[in-house]
């Protein structure tokens, strides 16, 4: 293809967009909104996956002791924990420390604790199993072993609610597929209608082009490019908007589980490329349908 001709197609596509600016702006806004919703789901999914990965790789366990456990029994429990593969005692929390932590957490509401006749909180160990997945540690088995020891009241581990979160992640994924599919259809529909309008506004020119010997593709290509440009602009603007929203969110500390704030990550580059390419492809599909039906 002659270079000049390539520029001709691009020029025609941009001219079409300029002539139907209002339609294109409205359409672009809708595409960006659709992609933003899709991108938000993707971002939520990526972050949930990330958090699950982080929590899953460092299994944590709270081991609660019975009241009145002797120092001898505690030493035995201590030794047992230290012998577990990958286990590290992060902290021993005495009954007093547990009460102190609770008071600190309740702040001004902690007054009622003063009226308690005795401290009901148990002493506990906070244990971390580093690289839990890699070492194939079975938390339920460890829990059973610990409960068999004298002096242990209860054991709770992070995988119990991780499983619940994984279930939630599956729901998010499924919703993402359904909503994403509908939004993709919506984008194709919007682009098809926008291109239909520009074809309609150029119908006289199309007629003349055909009369002077333009091939079908000569007439169609600017419209295909138009759809592609819409997709590119929509994809680009949606990613930028999503990034700005991410900056706002990630600047705030959000605590969901445990003492550490949630670490927000943005979409990885391959996801951004995927979202951008998807937007471009949807633009092309939309314009392809329009030119197939109306030219």
């Amino acid at each position: 293809m002659v270079i000049g001709l390539r520029f001709y197609f691009l020029r025609q596509a941009l001219l079409n967009m300029r002539r139907n600016l209002t339609v294109h702006i409205l359409s672009l806004g809708t595409i960006v909104a659709c992609l933003l919703i899709l991108g938000s789901f993707l971002l939520l999914f990526v972050n949930l996956n990330n958090w699950l990965g982080q929590w899953g790789s460092a299994l944590s366990m709270s081991i609660y002791l019975k009241d009145g456990t002797s120092a001898y029994k505690r030493d035995k429990i201590d030794a047992f924990i230290r012998a577990l593969p990958g286990a590290r005692i992060r902290r021993f929390i005495s009954k007093e420390e547990a009460m102190h932590d609770l008071k600190a957490a309740l702040g001004e509401e902690a007054g009622f604790l003063e009226r308690l006749a005795h401290n009901p909180l148990p002493a506990s160990y906070e244990v971390i199993f580093e690289n839990a997945g890699a070492d194939e540690i079975y938390p339920e088995k460890i829990k059973e072993q610990l409960l068999a020891l004298d002096g242990i009241e209860d054991v709770q581990h992070s995988t119990q609610w991780l499983k619940r979160l994984e279930g939630f992640l599956d729901v998010v994924r499924l919703m993402g597929y359904v909503i994403g599919g509908l939004l993709c259809l919506c984008i194709v529909f919007i682009v098809t209608n926008t291109i239909k309008l520009t074809i309609y506004s150029r119908r006289d020119e199309i007629e003349i082009l055909k009369l002077v010997g333009a091939t079908d593709w000569f007439v169609k290509l600017p419209f295909l490019l138009e759809g592609m440009i819409q997709g590119i602009l929509g994809g680009g603007m949606a990613i930028v908007s999503l990034f700005l929203s991410y900056l706002v969110f990630s600047s705030k500390e959000i605590y969901l589980i445990g003492p550490a704030p949630l670490e927000f990550v943005f979409l990885p580059v391959e996801y951004m490329v995927l979202a951008f390419s998807l937007s471009m492809v949807l633009g092309i599909i939309g314009s392809f349908i329009a030119i197939g039906r109306f030219i």
């Binding site: 000049g4 001709y8 007629e207 003349i208 082009l209 009369l211 002077v212 010997g213 333009a214 091939t215």
Partner: protein
């Protein structure tokens, strides 16, 4: 150059052309005349491939239009110039752009498109109006833009449908001299007209159509 064999065309129950046989040789200058509704425009549109015949065959340069593919018809149209009765100019494009469009579709370099468009607009006397828009031009000037668009690609055949229909006698003479000039350069020119003034004293071949039949041919 142009051969028609038993060519018929119907629009619903109305017969527009009835078993026409006709040959127009290379480099001829031919008038097709007849009253309104005689089938002049239909005949030109069939030769141009804008209509399909009900029966019969059309051969352009030995290519049968009944058997031509759509893409080859597009390529053939690049060798045929058509001046439409209603000019068919694009109001939102300049004179230059209206003419250049016929070259742009061929995919030739922009530099050549510009050079040939300038040359053609000079030929039709519109060099000064290149940047003007069609609606700001007079009827005669718009007609010349339409002619420039038809001849800019150096067509083998030039078809013109009532090219002087809306023009005064002076402009008619001007336009006809343009067609003569194009013909002298070797182009086969076929003009459909119902204007008697245009045909008075002409030495050119004149084909008379009446109710879809050829009722006279001075050949």
């Amino acid at each position: 150059m142009i051969q028609l064999f038993h060519l018929s065309k119907k629009f619903g129950p109305n017969i527009a052309l009835n078993s026409i046989d006709l040959r127009i040789g290379k480099g001829e200058f031919v008038f097709i005349t007849g009253p309104s509704g005689a089938g002049k425009t239909t005949l030109l549109r069939l030769i141009f491939g804008a209509e399909k015949p009900a029966t019969g065959h059309i051969l352009i340069n030995a290519i049968n239009l009944n058997r031509i593919s759509r893409s080859n018809l597009d390529l053939l149209r690049r060798k045929i110039g058509f001046v439409f009765q209603d000019f068919k100019l694009l109001p939102n494009k300049t004179v230059f752009e209206n003419v250049a469009i016929a070259l742009e579709v061929t995919g030739i370099r922009t530099k050549i498109v510009k050079r040939k468009t300038h040359q053609t607009l000079r030929r039709v006397g519109l060099a000064e109006k290149e940047k003007a828009y069609p609606l700001s031009l007079s009827g005669g000037e718009q007609q010349r833009v339409a002619i420039a668009r038809a001849i800019v690609k150096d067509p083998l055949i030039l078809l013109a449908d009532e090219p002087t229909g809306n023009l005064d006698p002076d402009l008619t003479r001007e336009i006809m001299s343009l067609f003569k000039g194009i013909h002298e350069r070797g182009t086969t020119v076929v003009i459909a007209t119902h204007s008697r003034e245009l045909l008075e004293g002409t030495q050119c071949r004149t084909i008379v159509l009446n109710r879809g039949n050829i009722s006279g041919d001075t050949w």
